[in-house]
């Protein structure tokens, strides 16, 4: 027990020193515990920015978990509103929650979205023995009888995985989307298990979640929700080429506080572009199942604004928000 106590002591002392010494370097807040997607964004982007010389000091990563990113968002808006040395990891989950007013009244315009440099493509899959051979088959079945197809996905009801099939159905002219059955389970693997087991008829998720099952031959991917077919998965057709113009990817990017100058905003956008162009980032993307998806600066801000508006409308339609 004494050795344990000592270890705890030493560790906390080291932690305290670490935080104190790096006060002048830029900081990246990962609004989740170590190990998740946001943590990955901060650590990889921070490391590569330093390695390629885009910043002259290593970027300090702070984990601020809570309220699905809401705690960090509130912290940035209320206490760090003009901090030029601060970047925060974000993803589709951030914009979805903002659109659904899940950050305690905070809106998307309280920060500036600086860029995304990689994305996990959305997919719709069915069990290998499913009668549905194409996205069209699935959509027709739902149009004929909305109760006949249930989707399983890794996010909660109203989350991004839930919205993907709804976007497709809306484009197909099906408006009664509250009738579409969806269950949110604990992650993509669980959603696939439910689908292969026959409890649900289709699974909605991200490309990285289905790779293992795809190789095992347990599932068939009906569509990938990108502009072009994904390199390495050329056999999977896009929803677009099947006549459903939906692009839904889980992008990985950053936001900065609202109060920073345009110069600072452009400086971070520029640094992010450099990371996107680097070989290190390409290797990191390949290792983590991400597809290239680069949008920085004002271009990205307008993409996020459009996304927030669309998700907000869709969420109202399905009754997740008033």
């Amino acid at each position: 027990m004494k050795t344990l106590t000592m270890k705890a002591f030493v560790t906390s002392a080291v932690l305290a020193l670490g935080t104190g010494g790096a006060a002048t370097a830029a900081e990246c807040i990962a609004p989740a515990n170590p190990g998740g997607g946001w943590d990955f964004t901060c650590r990889q982007i921070g490391k590569i920015m330093f390695d390629i010389g885009a910043v002259d000091k290593p970027i300090q990563v702070t984990n601020m978990a809570g309220a699905g990113g809401g705690l960090a968002y509130n912290h940035v808006v209320n206490e760090r509103g003009d901090d030029a040395d601060l970047i925060v990891a974000a993803s589709s989950a951030t914009s979805t929650r903002l659109a659904q007013n899940a950050y305690a009244g905070m809106t998307a315009d309280k920060v500036r979205f600086v860029g995304a440099i990689g994305a996990d493509p959305g997919v719709i899959v069915v069990a290998a023995n499913s009668p549905f051979k194409s996205l069209g088959d699935l959509v027709d079945a739902i149009k004929a009888d909305p109760g006949s197809v249930a989707f399983a996905g890794g996010s909660a009801v109203g989350g991004f995985d839930h919205l993907k099939p709804l976007m497709i159905l809306q484009r197909a002219g099906f408006t009664d989307i509250t009738k579409v059955k969806y269950i949110g389970v604990d992650g993509g693997a669980d959603a696939i298990t439910q689908t292969v087991g026959g409890f649900t008829q289709a699974m909605t998720g991200d490309m990285s979640e289905i790779v293992g099952f795809l190789k095992a031959g347990e599932i068939r991917a009906l569509a990938v929700l990108t502009d072009e077919r994904v390199p390495g998965f050329e056999q999977i057709p896009t929803a677009k080429e099947q006549g459903f113009d939906v692009v839904a990817v889980n992008w990985r990017g950053l936001y900065v506080p609202k109060g920073v100058s345009d110069d600072t905003f452009n400086m971070w956008a520029d640094r992010l572009q450099k990371v996107a162009d680097s070989d290190e980032w390409k290797a990191a993307m390949a290792a983590n199942g991400l597809a290239p998806f680069t949008k920085v600066g004002g271009d990205f801000q307008s993409y996020v604004d459009g996304l927030v508006a669309e998700v907000n409308q869709l969420s109202k339609d399905i009754g997740v928000i008033q």
Binding site: T11, A67, Q100, G147, I183, D186, T193, G212, V320
Partner: protein, 501 residues
């Protein structure tokens, strides 16, 4: 031979010097934790979990360390049972029945070695069983939909509730309390916050680690303060330790039978190690009959519960790994660890993360050998630990808890919450309400609710869907029996009274 190939993969991971070192450390800490009265495997593992994060261990290493602690604690629990007549943990309760009388007769060393060997046999056979059976059980998971899962969680609540207390009503109250706490946070099915009082810190719900450390460790400190720190002293002298070959040979069939009984008890979700040792002891007692001398220091009375509870510890890992449903209180804590490490135990764990599963199995085998070596020749060292005064020990435990929880979330709010849970644990124990069902409620309540609501979505709100498959119906029957049976069998299965001098 898939199993051999997988096992060699496992050993290639577990035999790295670093993981091996973690296994040895885990075994050592676990044995001490098990030996310390009041600190059982579940609170031991709970206290040490934050340490794995502070040390920045990866998933496999963290799992190796924690399961070594788990197995170690199952071994260690017998030490204080035999020497002090105080069970070091709950499953070691049965070992007091014959262990202490044997020690009183001056054979404390024999009792410790015999029980150590029995622990080894039980744990070893259970690990083999885990290796052979778990992949088979993993295939079953495609048969489990929302209705089946709901019934399974219900079964866990019913059986564990039945074992954790002599009073069903109190178990039920504790379970409901846990379920209530599990409801705090954003509702998965509507996205609306529940019971958060607008506090952003509560949006993600209450972290089960905070609850576990609070309910077990902090509550323990409150009890210590109340008793003004009475020290522990060893009542039995331990002189020299020899290996009692005669007793070991005489109990070999007892060990095998007890291992089987324990393993099966361990696999049943919720039953766990206490039930394993209890059933093993009771079945051996009835086989031996009146002339067996059970209760007066019979070697079989020591071998049976120890083999039983260690086998149950291995068995409990089967449903935890393949279904994500813990088979005992400690595996519930291990489940929490896995989920925090972003590993979803379940049917796909064996295919998704073979390195985690087989590394774990290999390290269990290694830990078992290490524990046998540690517990037989080196048993005297652990006896010394019992002489550390509690007023040194408990403040250390408290400090580790605070540093650990703070390093986990970096939030003072969780510290306040932890102390709150400590106070809750104190009150509950004063009222003789078991805390294990509370933990179970917090851990599984959300899942149980989700399963129910998914079932309702799929069936358009038709309640009959919950009984729509043979598996679901079977689980419902088992759950109802598990809850009701102890009420009628209480007269027969009364927890045995402690031996008084």
């Amino acid at each position: 031979m898939d199993i051999l190939a997988n096992l060699s993969l496992g050993f290639s991971i577990a035999l790295s010097p670093y993981t091996l070192m973690l296994a040895v450390i885990g075994c050592f800490l676990g044995t001490i934790i098990g030996a310390l009265p009041g600190l059982g495997p579940s609170n031991g593992v709970a206290i040490l979990i934050p340490l794995t994060f502070t040390m920045g261990l990866d998933a496999t290493s963290a799992l190796v360390l924690m399961t070594s602690v788990y197995y170690g604690a199952m071994y260690g629990g017998r030490i204080s049972s035999i020497l002090l007549n105080i069970p070091g943990d709950e499953p070691a309760l049965m070992t007091t029945l014959d262990g202490y009388p044997m020690a009183k007769k001056g054979r404390a060393g024999d009792a410790l070695v015999l029980s150590g060997v029995a622990s080894f046999v039980g744990a070893f056979l259970a690990t083999i069983g885990l290796m052979l059976l778990a992949p088979m059980l993993a295939r079953v998971a495609y048969l489990f939909g929302p209705a089946e899962y709901f019934a399974l969680y219900l079964l866990a609540f019913c059986t564990l509730g039945g074992m954790a207390s002599n009073n069903q009503a109190k178990s039920a109250i504790a379970s409901c309390l846990g379920l209530g706490i599990a409801m705090i946070g954003v509702d998965n099915n509507s996205g609306l916050p529940r019971l958060t009082g607008g506090n952003l810190h509560l949006m993600d719900g209450i972290d089960f680690l905070v609850a576990i450390v609070g309910l077990f460790a902090i509550a323990e400190v409150f009890f210590f303060i109340e008793s003004h720190g009475k020290g522990s002293a060893i009542g039995v002298k331990l002189d020299k330790v020899t290996i009692p070959w005669k007793d070991i040979m005489a109990t070999k069939w007892t060990m095998l039978r007890a291992s089987l009984v324990g393993f099966i008890a361990g696999i049943l979700p919720g039953a766990g190690a206490s039930l394993g040792s209890f059933l093993a002891y009771m079945s051996e007692k009835s086989i031996a009959g009146k002339d067996g001398g059970f209760g007066t220091g019979a070697p079989k009375g020591i071998a049976a519960p120890e083999a039983g509870n260690n086998a149950a510890a291995g068995g409990a890992l089967v449903p935890m790994l393949t279904l994500g449903v813990p088979g005992s209180g400690t595996t519930a804590v291990l489940l929490a660890l896995l989920m925090t490490l972003n590993i979803t135990p379940g049917p796909t764990l064996f295919t998704d993360r073979p390195e985690v599963v087989w590394g774990l199995i290999a390290s269990l085998l290694i830990a078992n050998v290490v524990l046998l070596l540690m517990n037989v020749p080196m048993v005297k060292i652990f006896v010394r630990v019992l002489q550390v005064p509690a007023w040194v020990l408990l403040p250390g435990v408290t400090m580790i808890s605070f540093v650990g929880i703070y390093s986990l979330s970096g939030s003072y709010f969780d510290l306040i919450l932890m102390v709150g849970f400590g106070a809750l644990g104190y009150v509950l124990r004063k009222l003789d309400i078991p805390t294990v069902p509370v933990i179970l409620g917090i851990l599984l309540g959300g899942h149980m609710e989700d399963a129910l609501r998914r079932a309702m979505v799929l069936s358009d709100g038709d309640g009959a869907f919950l009984f729509s498959s043979p598996i679901a119906i079977g689980l419902w029957i088992a759950a109802i029996l598990g809850f009701v049976a102890p009420m009628f069998l209480r007269g027969l299965l009364r927890k045995p009274q402690r031996v008084t001098d």
